[in-house]
């Protein structure tokens, strides 16, 4: 009994190790090349990886589509900024800030944790009633939640500077901060999926009636996952905010939601390796298309405007994926852990028949 269970553990860890190595190598090459533009693209890719992994933890395991998570990223960004902007700069960037908050100044790490905790607390409060919904109703409700978060961020001028740019953040995040956290969250997302909670959640995704019939509290499992994933998305927001250093509420709305969902759906929401590959591929596609778009519009070789070509082609890519491979590139078995499922099943049923005969 000991041997097979050890083998399973080893085999299950292989995909995780593989993907960590791939992303580690990407980070090292980026550092060696030392091209500022590439450095920036890769830093944002690693921050997006954290964001998409956070989304995957909820969406991939529960099977519920969520548009709300970029809102949690926004909450993490604004809340962490509120704690980290130096007191001197706050008077300028947030002149109407409540006095109780105006005196707070923390280091990046505690500020990021506070931001993530606030995002998680918000998700925990609004999530409990939402987790009773399924399918279309839950997707629409999560979309409404994104709209609410956006409206609040752009109207609560005292703490967000309203729809105007919030500035005054110090730059804490660099490539290796993003890489380190991304690799940590890769492990976390992987362990989460294999945890008891993750298994119960996946069970409810595969068959919600069967999950209830064996005693699984589906609402509670979804709610815990929603809260944990909001924490991770909040972290990604804090990292992003302290990389970009000045931003507006619009950064956490439709465009980012579209990019993040495309990454997740193209890669495969049900697997961690798929999610990571989706982030990598969509980043390459976006940046490649954007470079083409720019050179086309500068050179004028095409007889029409090319502005927006990137978004259109990405949308077409998404439609193709949904039409021909709706489960994403890596569907249900982690890349590198492929079992010879069918072969094994057929072998045994034949063996069984011959034994009985």
């Amino acid at each position: 009994m000991k041997m097979p269970s050890f083998a399973v553990t080893g085999r299950k860890l292989l995909p995780l190790i593989g993907i960590i190595v791939v992303f580690g190598v990407i980070a090292v090459i980026t550092t060696i090349l030392g091209i500022p533009l590439l450095d920036r693209i890769m830093t944002i890719m690693f921050i997006n990886l954290i964001m998409v992994l956070g989304l995957q933890m909820f969406m991939g395991n529960s099977g519920l589509l969520s548009f709300a998570h970029v809102g949690f990223m926004g909450i993490g960004a604004y809340a962490s900024a509120l704690f980290s902007i130096p007191v001197a700069a706050k008077a300028m960037s947030l002149p109407a800030l409540y006095p109780a908050l105006a005196g707070i100044e923390m280091g990046f790490f505690p500020a990021m944790m506070c931001g993530a905790l606030i995002a998680a607390a918000f998700a925990a409060i609004v999530g409990y009633p939402l987790m009773r919904l399924s399918d279309t109703a839950s997707a629409i409700a999560s979309f409404a939640l994104l709209v609410i978060v956006h409206v609040v961020l752009s109207q609560w001028s005292a703490i967000t500077n309203g729809p105007r740019t919030l500035f005054g953040l110090l730059k804490y995040t660099d490539l290796w901060t993003a890489v380190t956290w991304a690799l940590i969250i890769l492990v976390v997302a992987f362990l989460f999926k294999e945890s008891s909670l993750g298994m119960k959640l996946r069970a409810s995704r595969d068959n919600v009636h069967a999950a209830s019939a064996i005693g699984i509290n589906v609402v509670r499992a979804r709610w815990l996952a929603f809260t944990i994933s909001a924490f991770v998305c909040g972290m990604s927001g804090a990292l992003w905010a302290h990389f970009i250093t000045s931003f507006q509420p619009g950064a956490f709305y439709m465009t980012q939601t579209f990019i993040v969902l495309t990454m997740l759906i193209v890669g495969g929401p049900r697997t961690v390796t798929g999610t990571a590959i989706g982030v990598l591929l969509v980043t390459i596609a976006t940046e490649g298309l954007r470079a083409m778009e720019n050179s086309f519009s500068v050179s004028g070789v095409l007889p029409f405007e090319t502005v927006g070509m990137t978004e259109i082609l990405l949308a077409i890519l998404l439609i193709f994926m949904l039409a021909f491979r709706p489960g994403g590139l890596v569907q249900t078995i982690e890349l590198g852990a492929r079992r010879r499922v069918r072969a094994a099943a057929i072998d045994t049923s034949e063996a069984e028949l011959s034994r009985k005969a």
Partner: protein, 266 residues
């Protein structure tokens, strides 16, 4: 109160149709009871009421004396009553082992304990070779067995099996019979079995409960039921004339029976 699953005076109406009319049924922890009757007689509806998927218009369901009528399926499962589905419902993206393990996790057990239970059950039912196979890749008969193992892994006291032999060939049905027979003594778990395979039902069940048009028309041992003229007229008659045919061809599981699957709830 003794350890029993007891349904008392269950009435269930569907938009003017009385699907169950004053049905009372009881199941002990060391019993196998068969629930039989023609298609549309209310068998699956009764299982749905017992398992909490449907709320009856009148009557009560008690587990070991505790009234669980208003409980959702999840809480009823935690009280020791678990059911399988007419159309097998496994967690398709997961392996056989994970499916069985989830039964124990669903009952609130720790991961290590759940692993032990899953390994023991897989060994006991001799499907070690299927342990790591994805449950989607199994044959229909194998899926039925895995669903039963997953239910047993919860440590349930009462297990409701909705047509466990449907879709199985004679060999598989015979194999299933052998495994089901031993469940009450091995697991202290009473079985309530719906099936149209009279050969299986008559040999397996200690008692039978016969429904027709939502009403109990007979209760008793296999011999008593076979000799009951009302039952023969309402249900067995057709099969009695068909004789061995019915037993040899259990796969002729009625398409009309599907109209009583679980009402979709979220």
């Amino acid at each position: 109160m003794s350890e029993r699953l007891a349904a008392d005076g269950i009435v269930m109406n569907f938009a003017g149709l009385r699907a169950l009319d004053q049905v009372s049924l009881s199941l002990g922890r060391h019993e196998i009871v068969g629930l039989i009757g023609p298609n549309g007689s209310g068998k699956t509806t009764l299982v749905n009421v017992l398992a909490g998927a449907l709320k009856p218009n009148a009557g009560s369901v008690r587990i070991d004396g505790e009234d669980v009528t208003a409980f959702p399926p999840r809480r009823i499962a935690r009280h020791g009553l678990v059911r399988t589905f007419q159309t097998v419902r496994l967690f398709g993206t997961m392996s056989v082992f994970e499916n069985v393990q989830l039964g124990a996790l669903g009952a609130g057990l720790r991961r290590s304990k759940a692993t032990t239970i899953a390994n023991e059950l897989i060994e006991l039912f001799e499907i070690e070779d299927l342990r790591d196979v994805s449950s989607d890749a199994l044959s229909y008969g194998q899926k039925r067995i895995v669903e039963i193992l997953r239910s047993l892994a919860t440590g349930c006291k009462y297990l409701l099996l909705d047509e466990p032999a449907a879709g199985l060939n004679e060999e598989e049905s015979e194999h299933l019979l052998g495994q089901l027979t031993s469940i009450p003594e091995k697991f202290g778990c009473g079985l309530l079995i719906i099936d149209h395979d009279m050969n299986l039902i008559m040999r397996l069940c200690h008692r039978l409960h016969v429904l027709n048009q939502g009403k109990t028309i007979a209760e008793g041992t296999a011999d008593e039921i076979r000799a009951n003229p009302t039952v023969v007229e309402a249900y067995l008659g057709s099969q009695a004339t068909a004789g061995a045919d019915a037993a040899a061809n259990p796969t002729a599981a009625n398409p009309t029976a599907a109209n009583h699957t679980v009402t979709e709830r979220s």
